[in-house]
């Protein structure tokens, strides 16, 4: 019987057998198989089995390799997407816009139309990152055109005054404003100096203050805009204390208004309660004693009670005031109270907008982190798949090694038996 056996698989080759030209040692060959390539030779049973397994092994290895490559490519894609998501989170944190940068085209229209509600709505929308995509794209793509439009509007309003005659103070102011626009556009004194000089001339000269304001707001790439941003950034931390100052002025005015009346202690208690409530809310000193959130609720309750008590005290004090001198004092106090109230109100408004902007930024960062986490899970899953495939290939390799060993043993035993039989016959 002439049989073809792999030289690596057998230790003894029978005289009549033909050694096959195969690559052994259990290494993966060029075609990806763990076994040497089968050869076209006899129809021996062992050889047929060997060929069958080698073919199966080659197919498995090829499939596994393709699988690993596909999964690895997919994993690389996920990794890139995750990096992009994390980059988005970082950028969102860095790009938090302030009040000035949140003034879009709606704000410009609001300024020109003297409509503060429109300005506030536009700023709120931008700060809350609720701007519709088409509007945001329009504003970004037509930034220069919008800026030019505001300058043309400003120029037109000043030019119309200039047309009335050039020898009156108003015409002179209009001419200064037009000169300012020219300086800004020509950058005759250099970029920064022209920005400052031009803006100063426009603000000082414009007959219509609103058109001048719109020019300043529309130009986001000037030295003036940078300075506004800087000031806005630096005053953010002082905002709360400006509100406190406004409240303090209003409280002091309430006490002054009740001077000389029997309800002064009532007003004082109300003011003290309000101040105490504010302090409790800000310092959160009761959280440690009464649990999380206690300071906020108790502080708010104290502030509301304080406002009611001081309001009632002030009302009672007002009823007791009869003489004209006392009335005068009360009115002076009232003016102070109004001023304090306005300062407090505006500071609160800015605080609220900052809170909205912070929440919007946090939301964008959180969204990016959720996406990054999701991609991380997908990457881990793909990694596990790759490991599973590699384990499978390793198992296949072990299996084929065992098969090769079994062929080896079988052939060896067959040879020994034949030799023994030949010896016996001899």
């Amino acid at each position: 019987m002439s049989m073809c056996v792999p030289t690596s698989a057998v230790s003894t080759v029978l005289p009549g057998d033909v050694p096959c030209n195969v690559a052994g040692n259990g290494l993966v060959t060029g075609n990806g198989s763990l076994l040497p390539a089968p050869v076209e030779c006899s129809t021996d049973g062992l050889e047929a089995l060997y060929q069958l397994f080698a073919e199966s092994n080659r197919e498995d290895s090829k499939g596994a390799k393709a699988n690993v490559e596909a999964r690895s490519a997919e994993k690389q894609n996920r990794m890139r997407e995750r990096e992009a998501a994390l980059e988005r989170a970082r950028k969102a944190q860095e790009d938090q816009k302030g009040f000035f940068d949140s003034m879009g085209i709606g704000s410009l229209v609001g300024i020109v139309a003297a409509n503060p509600a429109l300005v506030l709505a536009d700023v709120s929308m931008h700060m809350a990152r609720l701007t519709p995509d088409f509007l945001r794209d329009f504003e970004n793509e037509n930034k220069d055109s919008i800026e030019l439009a505001t300058k043309l509007y400003c120029a037109a309003s000043n030019a119309s005054v200039l047309a009335d005659g050039i020898v009156n103070p108003e015409s002179l102011r209009a001419a200064i404003a037009l000169g300012g626009l020219l300086v800004q556009e020509s950058e005759v004194f250099g970029k920064d100096a022209s920005d400052w000089a031009g803006a100063g001339m426009v603000v000082a000269g414009s007959i219509d203050g609103r058109s001048a304001a719109s020019v300043i707001v529309a130009d986001k790439d000037s030295a003036v805009a940078d300075q506004i941003r800087d000031v806005e950034d630096k005053t953010r931390e002082w905002n709360k204390w400006i509100a406190v100052a406004g409240m303090a002025i209003a409280a002091a005015a309430a006490i002054v208004g009740s001077l000389g009346t029997a309800t002064l202690p009532v007003v004082a208690i109300g003011v003290a309660l309000s101040a105490g409530g504010f302090a409790v809310t800000e310092t959160k000193c009761l959280d440690a004693l009464l649990g999380e959130g206690a300071s906020m609720w108790i502080g708010t309750g104290m502030m509301i009670s304080g406002a009611i008590i001081s309001g009632a005290g002030s009302a009672s004090a007002a009823a007791q005031v009869t003489d004209k001198v006392a009335q005068g004092t009360r009115e002076a106090a009232r003016t102070l109270q109004v001023a304090g109230g306005v300062v407090d109100g505006l500071s609160k408004t800015r605080q609220g907008l900052d809170t909205v902007a912070d929440a919007a930024t946090r939301h964008e960062v959180d969204n990016a982190h959720v996406e990054a986490k999701s991609l991380l899970f997908q990457m881990q899953r793909l990694q596990r798949m790759v490991e599973e495939i590699i384990d499978t290939v390793r198992d296949l390799k072990d299996g084929h090694r065992r098969m090769s060993q079994a062929v080896n043993d079988a052939v060896e035993m067959q040879c020994q038996t034949q030799l023994m039989a030949a010896g016996m016959r001899a």
Binding site: L49, L52, S56, D60, G63, N67, R71, L120, A128, A250, G293, M303, A307, G311, A318, V321, E331, T335, Q337, V338, A339, G341, V342, D344, G345, K348, T349, R350, G352, L353, D354, T355, V356, D358, A359, A360, R362, H363, D366, N367, V370, S374, F377, R384, M385, E388, I389, T392, D395, L396, D398, G399, H400, M403, Q405, A406, D409, M413, Q414, M420
Partner: protein, 238 residues
């Protein structure tokens, strides 16, 4: 001819372990032939019916290892699915937390904005009322006139507090939802971790079963070799 009888049986048993090892790929990555696509008859049954105690023992251990692998794989697949579900729930809760925290921020911020605007407008209204009071007092110095500014101040003050309070109330509601979602996300994260550990354990179980197969095959090989040697010695002696 004894080798022809002996060889296929041992060979087939090796083949089974090899196919098993390959067929054990997880549902996610399996490309290897399943157990139902064996090209050869089941060798374990042949060994079990061989009447040879060594072969029968090897067959029993192989059968047990095969069962262990099967169970290990099904546990691993189930735990992997549970882990994926927990991870998906964790992501959903994280998203819910982000959305609720955003809504809380918006409610609180816009509440404060509204309160601030009401305060500012109220202050100017109080100023107007106060001026009116002063004008009335100046017009009739001997008559006690009602002070409307105080009532205006109280009304606008109440509006301001009401607006801010409403904002805070809504914000607290959303913050509560965000906190709940955060707690649930953490819980799901822990669940996913637990399932992941179970997956690792199941993988170890499968690996142990494979080791057992290897040891059994080694044993069987030694056993058959020793048996063949004994037969050969007896044959030579005869």
């Amino acid at each position: 001819m004894s080798i022809h009888i002996q060889f296929p049986s041992s060979f087939r048993s090796i083949d089974t372990s090899a196919v098993d090892a390959g067929g054990g790929a997880p549902a996610t990555s399996s490309q290897a032939p399943s157990e139902g696509t064996h090209l050869l008859p089941d060798p374990i049954h042949a060994l079990l019916n061989s009447g040879d105690p060594g072969a029968e023992m090897a067959a029993l251990v192989l059968q047990s290892a095969k069962e262990d692998k099967k169970i290990g794989r099904s546990i691993r697949d189930a735990e992997e699915r549970a882990q994926q579900a927990a991870e998906a729930a964790q992501l959903a809760k994280m998203q819910e937390k982000a959305d609720s925290a955003y809504m809380a921020g918006l409610a609180s911020g816009f509440g404060t904005v509204a309160s601030g605007l009401v305060s500012a407008v109220g202050a100017s209204k109080v100023g107007e009322a106060s001026k009116l009071d002063a004008d009335r007092a100046n017009a009739s110095p001997n008559i006690k006139t009602p002070a409307s500014a105080t009532s205006v101040e109280m009304v606008w003050g109440a509006y301001g507090k009401l607006t801010e309070g409403t904002g805070k109330l809504v914000a607290t509601h959303f913050q509560g939802e965000a906190d709940d979602a955060d707690v649930e996300a953490t819980h799901q994260e822990q669940l996913a971790g637990r399932h992941k550990r179970a997956v690792d354990d199941a993988r170890d179980q499968v690996r142990d079963a494979k080791d057992l197969v290897d040891r059994t095959l080694s044993f069987y090989k030694e056993y058959t070799t020793a048996k063949a040697d004994a037969q050969r010695a007896a044959f030579i002696k005869a």
